[in-house]
Amino acid sequence: MNTFYHRVLGGKNGTAGLIALAVLLLVILPCTLNSFWVNIVGKYLTFAFGALGLVLLWGRGGVLSLGQGLFFGLGGYCMAMFLKLEASDPVSTKIQSTPGIPDFMDWNQLTHLPAMWVPFRHLSFALLAVVTLPAIVAFIIGLAMFKRRVGGVYFAIITQALALIFSLAIDGNQGYTGGRNGITDLKTMHGWDIRTHHAQFILYYATSVILLLSIVLLQWLLCGKMGKMLNAMRDREDRVRFSGYDVAMFKVFLFCVAAILSGIGGALFVLQVGFIAPSLVGIVPSIEMVIFAAVGGRASLFGAVYGTLLVNAGKSLFSESFPQAWLFCMGGLFIGVVVLFPNGVAGGWDWWRKKAWPWLQTKFKPAPRQPEAGGMVNIVAKGENL
């Protein structure tokens, strides 16, 4: 039981953080926000999966990927393909020249369902693909890169290029992927209408619970030997190698886990928002995920979620008033955080908890044994100087 407490929940701080986040996501936000905003927050939380993966890969493993949108997209498209096929039954598509295939295929003169799409008629296959496809792609990319000791800036640039290629490939194959418009008009999952307020609410809770479970899983992973290994690997990669570890495989593993998380986020995004498009899987969303992780504090699992919520809230509120300026703000925010607050929100919280709060307490606490009036006045005066 004790090991469970330390290993899975991450001890006292981990448990407190987990409870705080669970209360915020499961109680406070759904009770205070209307259904429109709950849906929007649910959408933000799907990006938090990508940021969570980056905390593991970048914050703990020291490997920056600027292409997590690729995996977000893979997960999202797998889910969307299933939903689109379910929405394209022969009855509702009877006005098409080929009924029973997705509408965009019909517009592109396709007369039968491409082989790639066929297995996505089954929900179980689609759900499996949401998890395994990003993992397989990440495994191949990771193996090719890390075995050749490609790292740092080069790895970041290559992953970014891959994200761009992926979004361009989707964009350019309209008949097979829906092209620039993406896959739209998603309606039901196994007959369950995902567009109702009720369904949106349930999906919000599903997203929150899966997110919390992912955090618990990562905490379990990082509290064991793996956490220390990653610490050692970031510190002295050579030493780890000469202790008999295959460093490349560890990086491949991190990359795969980060990819799976992103993929799950993408699938949940599609369920809540009802569409997916190439603009959601390219360079910009990939970099945004890095910003979420950086603002939250790149080594903090909880920070990733708070960072995602904060930046997205800012984006929603600010971009409504100043749509032109938002991109500059985002860039400025990223540079500001990296330069001034390298540990982000989590670093700020740590500073408050360990330094500022104890300091304030010593300043404001009436000294317990100091009978002279002068002493008290002195303390009060000091307090006012704050």
Binding site: M226, K228, R239, R241, F242, S243, D246
Partner: protein, 248 residues
């Protein structure tokens, strides 16, 4: 000679050239079990490069390195470590953010694969071994101290301890007493002599007094080539060695 089984480590005809410059040139070196070999030589003689090639950090241009009759050339670093080769670097290279205990734990030769690492448990066996090694390197009192707070000498010992955790049959130490106080040198010499049993140790060192204390046999390198080999006495009186390295 290539199938000779009596040597633990046999380096034959080893050459590495960096853009035409031969850092190590057709070198032969044989080390037996239980032997403590010291390699000396002026700067640029190829001492560190030799160790780099044995542990897989640098790929030789030609030649062979056999350890327990396994060819090491072409193997990657972690595979060579798993054969039983341990290497200590010139500057102490330990994990500064981890405690002494954790430093040693990471070096424990279990859970080296990704999933082995995930499943790794700190069993009493592991703890016992860490305590044993910590006692050996005189850091038993510092198990909970972070690496960054150790003195320079303690860091050097910790790195030797990390090698011992791996139970290597060949230990290579690159300047283990550099920057140590005389008392620490004394302790290090005793430590190296203790751990020599059952394995072989190759040491690079400049401090001749220290070399004389520990060496069973000394190899002198000069410009990537073998200059002399023998006991400390023989090497000390070798006119060629006096000429290029020891001075008159």
């Amino acid at each position: 000679m290539s199938n000779n089984t009596s040597f633990l480590l046999s380096v034959e005809d080893l050459t590495v050239s960096f853009d035409g410059f031969k850092a190590v040139d057709a070198l032969n070196l044989y080390v037996e079990k239980d032997e403590l070999r010291v390699i000396i030589g002026p700067n640029g003689a190829g001492k560190t490069t030799l160790l780099d090639m044995i542990c897989g950090k640098t790929r030789p241009t030609s030649g062979s390195i056999k350890f327990r009759n396994h060819e090491l050339v072409g193997k990657s670093e972690h595979e060579i470590v798993r054969f039983g080769v341990g290497r200590k670097f010139q500057t102490p290279s330990i994990y500064e953010n981890l405690t002494v205990f954790e430093n040693l734990e990471i070096s424990y030769p279990k859970g080296r694969s990704v999933f082995g690492c995930v499943a790794f448990q700190r069993t009493p066996e592991v703890v016992e071994r860490i305590h044993k090694v910590a006692a050996e390197i005189s850091l038993k009192e510092c198990l909970d101290v972070e690496g960054a707070f150790l003195s320079h000498g303690q860091k050097q010992w910790l790195e030797i301890g990390m090698l011992l955790m791996q139970e290597p049959e060949l230990v290579m130490l690159d300047e283990p007493v550099a920057g140590m106080s005389p008392a620490e040198r004394e302790q290090t010499a005793a430590l190296i002599q203790r751990i020599c049993k059952g394995r072989c140790i190759v040491v690079i060192e400049h401090d001749m007094e220290f070399v004389a204390r520990i060496a069973h046999k000394v190899t002198v390198l000069h410009l990537g080539k073998l200059l002399a080999e023998g006991s400390m006495e023989e090497v000390r009186n070798n006119p060629k060695v006096i000429d290029v390295y020891l001075g008159h």
